[in-house]
């Protein structure tokens, strides 16, 4: 299948103002339009449609070893990116056919046909035979496994019951019945004999939980998995747990914690991280969350001096460039890269919701650090370097001043940002006088109250 068709015929693509595609393989990737194409309600978490992306589907998807992850991501891309909808759904269909998830297959075919219809191409017929066969097979296998389970339970052999539940869960997971799978995985809880069993159970529950989108549930079991004493292959496990914890923290908006999680993953164990993540994702997530939440010194000590993470970064040269540019205070270059990769990242299944917030945080950090060494700055130059217009910058800076992140004031007339001189001494005087007055009043309040009590003057029900 031709993945990277130039998108000349999908007419309503955004303005073609891309600053030159320097993507993974620039020659074939469509031009990166100037991102966030209008229709995104930023704060409303509305569904963002990416009208153009530089993503190379096949290479991107090949990073994921787990089939479920591949399908989920492809479907997500098909959902969010009209230009890639056809290719992504087609790829997804091939993958889904190897599972027994008939519902998902039908979904994917519908998506594909929508896209084909829009491109006025012949639609693909549904493979009714496969659907029917799969459905039957699933039903048969479910029944078989259930009856097996029943006999295990009758014999009450712990290990077999656990295996029975796990098999049934696996089967349902494969067939796309996630909540059913979760139910059966959870039931194995009572039949776990060894630490490995508990760990297996936890991991399966976490995987299913995250697939459903129930991150809180996954978190509970993750904590459980973490607390297993002396687990087999501790090092590998801790990397895996860190990767999961990272996603969960990112999802809940705890970017700083998430960054720490991602940065603690060892490159040697890149192959055992959470199934739905690729090592590339670790680099992207880690770099962006770290940029958004770390101080400069922390960036240096925890990112640039982190040999494991450096190796992850090698996988994503753009991200690495972005990080280094930021650290070298080349904000223009850094923000340029951010604008360029934004569309691709919006197609990431975990990152998309947080991308705007994270990028805004990074911008704020950039503005703060840009201004840090100066007494006064010409805002025209500053805007040029920070990749925005002066009035936009003025708004951003005003917000930062209000938040107390920049100690400065804006000379809006001359478009100059000046450091605010605070007179510590007079502030101290003013503050202490205020405090003295407050204390005096508090004392008065207490004494009056005490006197009232002493004289038994208490507001109470009227005596008759």
């Amino acid at each position: 299948m031709d993945v990277n068709t130039p998108k000349s015929d999908t007419a309503p693509v955004g303005p073609l103002a891309g600053p030159g595609g320097i993507g993974g393989d620039a020659s074939t990737s469509p031009m990166a339009a100037d991102g966030h194409s209008g229709d995104s309600g930023r704060k409303k978490r509305a569904r963002v449609h990416v009208l153009s992306a530089t993503i190379d589907l096949e290479t991107h998807i090949a990073n994921y070893k787990d089939r479920g992850a591949r399908i989920d991501r492809l479907m997500f891309i098909a959902d969010r990116c009209p230009p890639l909808q056809a290719d992504a759904s087609a790829l997804a269909i091939t993958e889904i056919k190897q599972t027994s998830n008939a519902e998902k297959y039908l979904q994917a075919v519908t998506r594909l046909n929508e896209a084909l219809y829009a491109q006025r191409k012949p639609m693909q017929p549904v493979d009714e035979k496969w659907v029917e066969e799969t459905r039957q097979a699933v039903r048969a296998k479910t029944e078989r496994l259930e009856s097996e389970l029943k006999s295990y339970r009758a014999n009450s052999i712990k290990e077999s019951i656990r295996m029975g539940y796990t098999d049934l869960g696996d089967h349902l997971f494969d067939a796309g019945d996630l909540s059913g799978a979760l139910k059966h995985y959870t039931r194995t809880k009572d039949y776990c004999a060894t630490q490995k069993h508990i760990l297996d159970m936890c991991m399966r529950v976490i995987r299913t939980g995250i697939s459903i989108g129930n991150f809180a549930h996954a978190h509970t079991f993750l904590v459980k998995a973490e607390s297993i004493p002396d687990p087999p292959e501790r090092e590998k496990l801790s990397s895996k747990i860190a990767s999961i914890m990272g996603i969960i923290n990112m999802e809940s908006g705890a970017y700083r914690k998430a960054a720490k999680n991602f940065l603690s993953i060892q490159f040697a164990h890149a192959d055992v991280i959470f199934e739905t993540l690729s090592p590339n994702d670790i680099a992207v997530y880690g770099a962006i969350t770290a940029l958004a939440s770390f101080e400069r010194s922390e960036l240096k000590s925890q990112v640039f001096e982190n040999s494991d993470f450096k190796q992850f970064l090698e996988l994503e040269p753009q991200i690495r460039e972005m990080l280094y540019n930021f650290h070298a205070l080349k904000f223009q270059a850094c923000l340029e890269i951010m604008a360029r990769i934004k569309n691709d990242l919006l197609l990431d299944i975990y990152l998309h919701e947080h991308l705007d917030t994270l990028f805004q945080l990074i911008r704020k950090k950039a503005i703060v650090q840009y201004f840090y060494p100066f007494m006064s700055v010409d805002m025209n130059k500053m805007a040029e370097n920070l990749y925005c217009t002066v009035s936009e910058l003025e708004h951003e800076v005003a917000a930062l001043i209000r938040e107390g992140q920049i100690q400065a004031r804006i000379d809006s007339h001359n478009k100059i940002l000046r450091v605010k001189r605070t007179n510590q001494r007079s502030q101290l005087y003013a503050k202490s006088l205020e405090m003295a007055a407050d204390y005096a009043f508090q004392r008065r309040l207490t004494v009056l109250r005490g006197k009232l009590l002493e004289r038994e003057l208490v507001v109470s029900m009227a005596r008759r």
């Binding site: 005003a398 001043i401 209000r402 004031r409 804006i410 000379d411 809006s412 007339h413 001359n414 000046r418 001189r421 007179n423 001494r425 007079s426 005087y429 003013a430 006088l433 003295a436 204390y439 005096a440 009043f441 508090q442 004392r443 008065r444 309040l445 207490t446 004494v447 009056l448 109250r449 005490g450 006197k451 009232l452 009590l453 004289r455 003057l457 208490v458 507001v459 109470s460 029900m461």
Partner: protein, 471 residues
């Protein structure tokens, strides 16, 4: 009546008008006089002498305070509209001697009520203000246990002037029902300025031997009225304190006065701080709870205000307009609404050094589709001008650059002699307060109740540990 009068007048001849060595004797004498007066019916008290003289013109309130008070009360109750009575009341207020009233603590409040009654009957509420003010001033200025020579009315006015100038700091000021009456009269007469002469002396106690307050309601009312007066004088900080004191009174049930105080406290806090500040922890939880539920409209308005969105706040004000109107808080609410814009402008000063009037109008939300930009700019300018005049911001407006406002830093640098003086004054008052607190602490720790409680608790604690051991 003639008989009575002769006793009184004769007594004046016998007892020295002034002189401390005879204080005790005169106390006893006062008691007998009081007994005689109390035994006389009000009808008799209210009647003129046989020679048709006015007994009040014969008596001197300085020496016969008690008799004068009781006769005045009786007369007013009998025929409140008599024109001479207000003049008599004023004489009384100017010259009465509080020490002589110690034997009959309920008489002075009665006089106060009578004066109000009299003024009402004359359809001139304002007439009651001055006598009551003088009475309160004298009570405030005269430490009851002390032995000061009575001040003349002129002295009292000087004292009042000093109070307003903030030069009076004294202890042992007792709250009396007269204070409450005075404030009420001031409020009704809308004469807020004069109330300051009394309000600005902080109350420290409420067991004046002359006229102790009978119920906690007087305490609550005094501080509620006081808060209202302070609002009238636009002294919101003081108003906030008064309302807080009112809410802080020990309570087992919420009082309606407290709830009304809370409503106004919310609005005053908005004007001062921009949000509802936390109340002291000692406020009874039950009071707080019922205040919150009773004043829900105010809290909603407060949260709209805190968002500094004029439209939101105005919408809330509109929504609860009837409520606010019924509570008579509409004026304060309007002031809050006007304050939002100024508060926003004030925020801008910390962010900007210069900003054009147009930008100011835009960022505080004066601009909308229906308002042309020139009008909005003019409005913004008016606000800024008003704020400069009231000293809330330090700024200059330049029309040369098309209406540019430059904000300046606060000039107060705390390096003048006045600062040192102020600091010293503050330190002295803090030290005095500290001494007071220590005294109180000592007194409490030596009090019988405290010691009893302590020993009880100890024995209880000891017995409970014993029980544990036995188990």
């Amino acid at each position: 009546m003639d008989q009575l009068l002769s006793i009184l007048l004769q007594n004046r001849g016998g007892s020295p008008a002034e002189g401390s060595h005879l204080q005790n004797v005169s106390d006893e004498h006062q008691r007998t006089v009081y007994k005689a007066l109390a035994a006389t019916s009000t009808y008799v008290l209210a009647s003129p002498t046989s020679s048709n003289d006015d007994p009040l013109s014969l008596l001197d309130p300085r020496t016969n305070t008690l008799a004068f008070a009781m006769i005045l009360t009786a007369r007013i109750k009998h025929s409140p509209s008599s024109s001479l009575l207000l003049a008599h009341a004023l004489t009384f207020a100017q010259r009465f001697d509080p020490r002589q009233l110690v034997v009959a603590p309920q008489e002075l409040p009665a006089v106060g009520e009578a004066i109000i009654l009299c003024a009402d009957a004359a359809r001139c509420r304002r007439a009651a203000v001055r006598p009551l003010q003088l009475i309160c001033l004298r009570l405030n200025a005269t430490p009851v246990s002390g032995n000061t020579v009575g001040m003349s009315a002129v002295d009292l006015d000087e004292y009042a002037f000093n109070v307003i100038a903030g030069n009076v700091s004294q202890s042992g000021v007792h709250l009396t029902p007269l204070h409450v009456q005075f404030l009420k009269v001031c409020l009704l007469a809308k004469n807020y300025k004069i109330a300051r002469t009394v309000l600005d002396v902080p109350i420290t106690d409420f067991a004046s031997p002359v006229a102790p307050i009978a119920a906690v309601q007087d305490f609550l009312l005094y501080h509620y009225y006081g808060g209202l007066v302070h609002i009238g004088n636009k002294r919101f900080q003081a108003a906030q304190q008064f309302f807080e004191i009112c809410l802080n009174a020990p309570s087992t049930v919420p009082s309606a006065i407290q709830i009304e105080s809370y409503k106004r406290l919310v609005l005053v806090s908005l004007l001062l701080k921009g949000e509802m500040t936390a109340l002291p922890k000692s406020v009874a939880p039950i009071v707080l709870r019922s205040c919150r539920s009773q004043a829900a409209a105010y809290l909603e308005f407060a949260s709209a205000f805190a968002s500094l969105s004029h439209t939101r706040a105005a919408a809330k004000a509109q929504q609860f307009a009837e409520r606010f109107h019924a509570d008579k808080t509409l004026g304060l609410v309007q002031q809050c609404l006007a304050d939002i814009v100024r508060r926003k402008i004030q925020q801008l000063t910390s962010t900007y050094l210069t900003l054009s009037l147009g930008d100011i109008a835009r960022s505080v939300g004066l601009v909308d589709a229906s308002v042309p930009i020139e009008v909005a700019e003019a409005e913004a300018e008016a606000h800024v001008l008003q704020m400069i005049e009231s000293g809330r911001v330090l700024a200059t407006i330049s029309h040369a650059d098309g209406g540019m406002v430059s904000f300046h830093d606060v000039a107060e640098s705390f390096d003048s002699l006045a600062t040192t003086e102020k600091l010293e004054r503050e330190l002295a008052s803090a030290a005095a307060a500290d001494l007071d607190a220590r005294d109180l602490d000592r007194k409490i720790s030596l009090s019988r109740e405290y010691l009893q409680r302590i020993t009880q608790d100890k024995s209880k604690a000891a017995s409970s540990t014993l029980d544990d051991d036995q188990v």
